[in-house]
Symmetry: C2
Subunit: 422 residues, 2 copies
């Protein structure tokens, strides 16, 4: 399907169907939604061979294209990973349905009873890359929160995503919910994304999950509100009043526990006053774990294994075993560095001084700011949300982990007995 | 200033200053913000002659341009209206400062203490038309909620808005807050709006307040998230089970109390089953108040004074003493009509049947849905918010009246004692 006009018609049709489905989903009962989720999970378990066969096709194409090993690994599905997808659907099924929750209620002096009630957003467009399990996670989180979804997977996971999507659709059918409640865009033509971003009559919100270039394209082109999931340039700042053992443990965990997630630290900032006493130990521990150290002059002078950090390093999300390290002038220097180079995602301070910690918590303008804890806690599960679509780095609508509640809006219901306004 | 490049430089400078100011405002104390507001209010009272003189210039230009009487009236400032502006600033000063509020708090099993704390959005761009008092209301609501604002007034209120803005700046100075906390764009060149909409490095959110063409321009061009304030095509549906006296009173109040506000009703829907018995009385009451009735065939057959309603009428926000009236097939017909022609703003049902009312409340997808009350209650003050910038008709971020709390975001503060993620 290369004809631009055909894609326009296709996407408009997808949008229209999604909007129609969203009207039904908004009124669907928790039971009906859960029936669909249970059936989808069962379907995924019983379709295991089909999903693996589909994934094999994707893997072969990926290898043929010479995709990097880490990318191929993210793409790969085996029995264990597919069972984890099915379990993840059941976990989301068990979460409390947020729709209909009364957020607040008041009776006005004139007798009007005003309730603010949680409702779905409507239609959510999600654009994501590589990992095929996102097809299930994203579609299922939207469904449970009463939203219709339009999913656009990365081209490398086309076959796997379609196989998983087919199971979700069977689940919807089993619950007599519209099949268009979860749609997967059936073409990888880039023009389809452009059309999705223009479907403001049908789509309420776009969630882009992916690299900088995807997010920039979406923010430039979208006529639909965007819930931005920017990159995670996360910092750990080690203050002069830090406990060095704690600082070492947190720095190593924040960087090395998993290097490929958005909450992994990319830059370590060390108070200049303790560079000499702290840096050698902390950096040796990172180096021992196989982490490349890129330092400024001061860092290099106390840790000769470090290579030169360039200006570019401070703004780079490595998603790899590399850390940039800089000496800064106390907590103020750390706050300034983060304001300049950070991505408003997640940043941590290690210090035993409560006033210094509170200053950092207060003044660092990020979705998540931690004191004496690893940045790798930036995760919906760790926040008790059960599951998340990602971490929102924008301030509008939701900030931080985006779970079921963050995929909702609200409306005001006003009950009177004939009130007219004087 | 007609040079495109000069405007680009001007707007970038405004954006940069606003962002810098927002960083200071985010940390400003309630006392400091209130000092600025009190001083601004005093300054407005003592600058009364200057403001009236400035307003005279605007009025003369408006009359010279042949602006409609209603528009000229909206523009006019007299002693009473200027005192009301000063009082409105003091009212906002007295509202509770939302910044720093702890929205929720939890201790995770691993001992991490997670708090969600209210913070400002940052920099808010507000584009508005005609009424000069919005300069004060918008700037002051943003200031109280810790946000820097960039205001763009309608060209017809240039002189009045500048005079009011000068008082706000004096208030900021008196409190030693940055003058750039509230900026008024000093040119009416349309290109300045275009540049504002592209300042995504500095501006966090755009709030357009105005007619359809403004909002459409903003939604098409903006690279900054938009909190849409669409038009208010509000409906009153009179059900077969309505009390006719209540229905009459609500219909008259919803339409005629003030016709120029966004919560005024534009369309009256009447259950076909009671068109014959109810419509003559309700429509006569409206007609008596000077309201023009535009009806469909069924309505015309029972109320001959009605003129023909065209398809266009159902989607028109008159903001005037005109109402379109249609017979619909019960509550389902009303819900379908509103879904097709409404603007997701405010809609009301009049009925004595609780199940019918609940169906309407549940299924009408608008920011505010009322049972047995007038749509003219769609107002932040009536919701206990004290003051509002407008009514948001979008679902992202805030929905319904936008007061201080709706101009905020939140961040997560996580306090640990050395936790690393397993």
């Amino acid at each position: 399907m290369n004809n631009e006009n055909e894609i326009k018609i296709l996407m408009k049709d997808i949008g229209r169907k999604a909007k129609k489905a969203s009207e039904i989903l908004a009124l669907a009962s928790t039971e009906q939604k859960n029936t669909a989720l249970k059936a989808a999970s069962d379907e995924i378990k019983s379709s295991l061979p089909d999903i693996i066969a589909a994934n094999k096709k994707d893997m072969e194409i990926a290898k043929g294209r010479g995709l990097a090993g880490a990318m191929v690994d993210r793409l790969m599905l085996n029995e264990e990973r597919i069972k984890a997808i099915a379990k993840s659907i059941e976990d989301i099924m068990k979460l409390k349905d947020p729709i209909g929750d009364i957020l607040d209620e008041q009776v006005r002096p004139n007798g009007l009873k005003i309730s603010r009630v949680r409702v779905p957003l409507g239609v959510i467009g999600i654009i994501f890359e590589s990992r095929p399990n996102v097809t299930a996670d994203a579609g299922v989180l939207c469904l449970k929160s009463g939203n219709a979804s339009i999913l656009r997977c990365g081209s490398e996971s086309t076959h796997s995503s379609r196989a998983i999507h087919a199971c979700l659709v069977k689940g919807l059918k089993a619950a007599k919910l519209p099949e268009a409640s979860i749609q997967l865009i059936p073409t990888q033509d880039r023009a389809a994304v452009g059309e999705l971003l223009r479907l403001s009559d049908y789509v309420d919100i776009i969630v882009p999950r992916g690299g900088k270039s995807l997010i920039e394209r979406v923010q430039n082109e979208s006529r639909v509100p965007v819930m931005a999931h920017l990159d995670g340039i996360c910092h750990v700042y080690v203050d002069k009043d830090a406990n060095i053992d704690m600082a070492t443990a947190i720095a190593v965990n924040a960087k090395m526990r998993r290097t490929g997630i958005c909450g992994s630290a990319e830059t370590l900032l060390i108070d200049s006053k303790v560079v000499q006493s702290f840096a050698p130990k902390i950096l040796a521990a990172l180096h021992e774990k196989g982490c490349e150290i890129r330092g400024d002059a001061k860092i290099k002078s106390v840790f000769p294994d470090a290579v030169d950090a360039t200006e570019e390093d401070w703004g780079t999300e490595y998603l790899d075993a590399i850390v940039s390290v800089r000496a800064v002038n106390g907590v103020d220097g750390a706050i300034d560095h983060i304001a300049k180079y950070g991505s408003n995602h997640t940043d941590a301070i290690v210090t035993d001084s409560v006033p210094t910690a509170e200053k950092f918590l207060n003044e660092v303008d990020s979705a998540i700011v931690l004191h004496n804890a690893s940045t790798q806690y930036a995760d919906g599960g760790e926040f008790g949300m059960g599951a998340e679509i990602g971490i929102s780095t924008g301030k509008m609508h939701a900030r931080g982990p985006v779970g079921l509640e963050q995929l909702t809006s609200y409306k005001y219901l006003v009950r009177g007995n004939g009130q007219t306004r004087p």
